[in-house]
């Protein structure tokens, strides 16, 4: 979980939101291997019954949990996951919103880039910016 101390020290939390719990868990494993163990990663995947989909309640809980301490950067796959994140934003306090950045970035590349950035001790705003840079990095 977003086990950050409340004084704002420690790394930014990654919140990974996907239609698939397995996708989110696999991406968290990959990001952890590259970025090291210091970055807290929270995953939210699947619908209430465990099938592919999104569970707005758990998305909101994860984002609220992340928006403590050093704050969080939220990465999201597509479609209704994005809608769930947007809906969650409307349920959060101004303090929580100030402690959270949603990255408009490709999920895999963005998560890896944000995780490494977070491991260097940057802010959630900076981690989101690095994730968004992933949109313009050529693969080939």
């Amino acid at each position: 979980m977003a086990g950050m101390d409340s004084n704002g020290n420690g790394a930014v939390t990654l919140v990974l939101v996907s239609h698939s719990a397995e996708l989110a868990a696999g991406l968290a494993e990959m990001a952890r291997q590259i970025a090291g163990p210091t970055v807290p990663i929270v995953t939210v995947g699947g619908a209430v019954d465990g099938s592919l989909g999104t569970d707005g309640g758990r998305v909101l809980d994860a984002m609220k949990a992340g928006a403590t301490g050093a704050g969080a950067v939220v990465l999201v796959d597509l479609g209704s996951s994005v809608l769930s994140v947007r809906a969650a934003l409307t349920e959060m306090t101004p303090e929580e919103l100030a402690n959270l950045s949603v990255a408009d970035a490709p999920l895999v590349e963005g998560a890896v880039a944000a995780a490494v950035a977070a491991s260097t001790g940057c802010t959630h705003v900076e981690a989101a910016r690095v994730a968004e840079e992933a949109r313009s990095v050529a693969k080939l």
């Binding site: 291997q33 590259i34 890896v112 880039a113 990095v137």
Partner: protein, 92 residues
């Protein structure tokens, strides 16, 4: 001397034969480079990657035993290049 007139510093460093610049070692390199103010690049396989960008470094595809060219420019370029030149052969 102003920071901008700091010359570009180059160092060569060889990856351990059994350590490719993937996953964990790539993250270690990027974290190390990010600690310096200098602009730092790593070249291999005819490509030049920003050493502070994990996606750039992963795209290099540098395999174990490959010699990397590290180049740095800016305020602490000499320290950055030296630090990374020592780090690369010690990556695990």
């Amino acid at each position: 001397m102003s920071p901008s007139s700091e010359p570009r510093v180059e160092r060569h460093a060889t990856l351990p034969t059994d350590v490719a610049l993937h996953a964990r070692p790539a993250g270690t390199l990027v974290r190390a480079a990010s600690a310096f103010a200098a602009e730092v690049f790593v070249s291999a396989n005819g490509r030049r990657a920003n050493a502070k960008s994990i996606l750039d470094i992963l795209a290099l595809g540098a395999e174990g035993g490959v010699e990397l060219l590290i180049d740095a420019s800016g305020d602490d370029a000499a320290e950055a290049a030296e630090h990374l030149a020592l780090l690369v052969p010690a990556l695990v």
